[in-house]
Amino acid sequence: MKKAYIAATMIAAALCRLAAADPAANATTDAPAFSFSGVVDPYAAYSSLNENSAFASVEPLSDATVYGEIDGKLRFSREYTSLGLLDFSFRDTAQIDHSDGSTTESKTFTVNELYSDLNFGDRFYLRIGKQRLSWGAGYVFNPSDPVNPPKDPTNQRAILEGVPAVKVELIDKPVSLMLFSVLYDSFDQFGYGAKLSTSALPNSDISLSGYWSASQSWTGALNASVAPFYALPGWDTIQTWFEGGVYGQGRYEAYADGILPGSAATENPTGAQYAALFGASGQIPVLETVALAEYYHLSEGLSPSELGSVYGALRSPSPAIVAASSSWYSQLALRPGRQASDYLFLSLTQSTITDTGDPVFDKIGLTLSCLLNLVDGSFYLQSDLSLTFVKDTSIDATLAWAAGGPDTEFGNDPVNLCLGLEAKVFF
């Protein structure tokens, strides 16, 4: 992976240089330009730890977390014929251990994207380098996305990294075609995919995609977004979307060995699996609140009894069972919001309380969202208060609450309650 990433980075940089010196670009009238933008983001959080969590005995928990992050984007462009982008995040994190008060500091530098674009004619372009391949209509889950790291609906501050890839896209009407290859360490792990998208049907955007890699089997997917009342003023903000994926083997099937024979009755997900997401959103007139709802189903998600068995085993007093169950920790940690078979996500967003020039209420935004595990009834609730009294600065206070029974997903969240304070300075 590392080799491929380095190779992609070098190629991207070389292409950037090549594009800047391309004699064919002489037909353009503008000189190459660089721009730098981003956000400086100090964040502090205090957590109320969940002593009853199955993870409480194994996870290094902290009462308080403080970090400072710089997220920057350096952009090179020469008209639309060539473009280069470096998107990076530097994060310095300090965590205070709840048991002995010791502080652990860690620094990370992540190149989220580093790529170069080259245009050939007015319709065709090539992008090479580390990139986020855009995928799926879903806000909290993308069942059609076989490539990007999965979203974590319980961690909005997670850094979204791209993947090393080569992509060519033909953008035209009524159909656009994207072909891509995802680069991994060895050639036999490479993935190949295609996406066909169209807006030919009135008020709709539809895409069909396919992906195959020898190591991950295949994925077929359909995305459809429809604004059914787009022609009616007042109703034109209502949108619906569907995102579905079918794949040759379970994406989370690493747990297929079972946590311990006989201790949890989980069935290995074998054969083709599927996941589907339905969503709808609209803006409430006058209030201008945006309401959004998403429901999704995973065929390989666990049933109530399976979830209960898994968490029961993880909290077992028997050291043998706990030891044999340890592989579950990493597997469950990889799939927040995707452990069970059915979920509902609800969100209300008021970007500003008023938009009338009010010196106070125009600067206050509110967001309330809830991810509900429909299988076990546990939920993750998050509220956000955003203050923008200073230009290019946003102060955000967030409150997250995870709750549920003892053998449920969010009932076992290591943190019951988390209060965060964040200041974002945009530049």
Partner: protein
């Protein structure tokens, strides 16, 4: 006798209507209204062009907000990209004929949006930021002469061809001497004026605008205004069609030209 009277009356009404229509059509002294409006639009903004835009929203509360952006136009298709304030940098609005998309400032996500929404905030709707081809959006008829701001003008009535447009009825005053719009007033279905803008400044070069300033006023709350200035208007020989697609916005290539 009664039958003759009805026929005679119908003939009179038809003749009167024909004459009135012919007079109205001929009353416009510069020929075809449609062509004239096209030339007014072209003098303001070339069909293929790029330009920068600065907007100051002022409220009765004394609160002001400033924002800047640029746009690329190809007839009735427009990409508008925000560059200021920094928190809104890379927010983009796409108008592809009657369909609008917005790209959020901090993510690559692109979603459909409404013509009437004001994604940017202030008194200017998404349509206000991208409405450059009058004849494609409205059916135009000549109302007569008038004057506004001390200028001799032609007055036109614009009726929306599409219900999606924010205002069903618009009145337009065009300066006879420069062919530049002087005032545009926007009405609700009920006939109540909702909003208007006055052209506050025009910099001309070769009969074409290089920069234009407009003041949008909320007719229901006249203290709330938006001063919009379009400048660095540059004609382009051609503009690729791909700019005006959802896929292009998703690709994040928002700076096709240097601004």
């Amino acid at each position: 006798m009664k039958r003759y009277a009805i026929v005679l009356m119908a003939v009179c009404v038809a003749s009167f209507a024909t004459v009135a229509y012919a007079e109205a059509d001929q009353a416009f002294p510069e020929g075809d209204v449609h062509s004239y409006i096209d030339s007014v639009d072209a003098a303001l903004l070339p069909v293929n062009c790029k330009a920068r835009m600065a907007i100051v929203d002022s409220y009765s509360t004394g609160d002001d907000r400033t924002s800047e952006g640029f746009f690329v136009r190809k007839n009735n298709r427009v990409v508008w990209v925000a560059v200021e304030p920094a928190s809104q940098k890379n927010f983009a609005l796409l108008r592809d004929e009657d369909t609008f998309f917005e790209r959020f400032a901090t993510t690559n996500k692109v979603v459909k949006t409404s013509a009437t929404a004001n994604s940017r905030g202030g008194e200017t709707s998404n349509l206000d930021l991208t409405r450059f081809n009058t004849n494609l959006d409205y059916t135009v008829s000549y109302l007569g002469d008038g004057s506004h701001g001390g200028k001799d003008c032609y007055r036109f009535e614009l009726r929306a061809k599409n219900r999606k447009l924010a205002y069903s009825l618009v009145q337009l005053w065009v300066d006879k001497a420069t062919r530049m719009p002087v005032r545009k007033a926007f009405f609700a279905l009920s006939g109540k004026m909702l909003k208007y803008y006055d052209v506050t400044s025009v910099e001309l070069a070769g009969g074409r605008a290089e920069a234009i300033g407009m003041k949008y006023v909320d007719a229901l709350k006249p203290e709330d205004t938006s001063d919009l200035r379009i400048y660095d208007i540059t004609s382009l020989a051609s503009v690729p069609d791909q700019f005006f697609t959802k896929e292009y916005l998703e690709s994040g290539r928002l700076y096709p030209y240097q601004f």
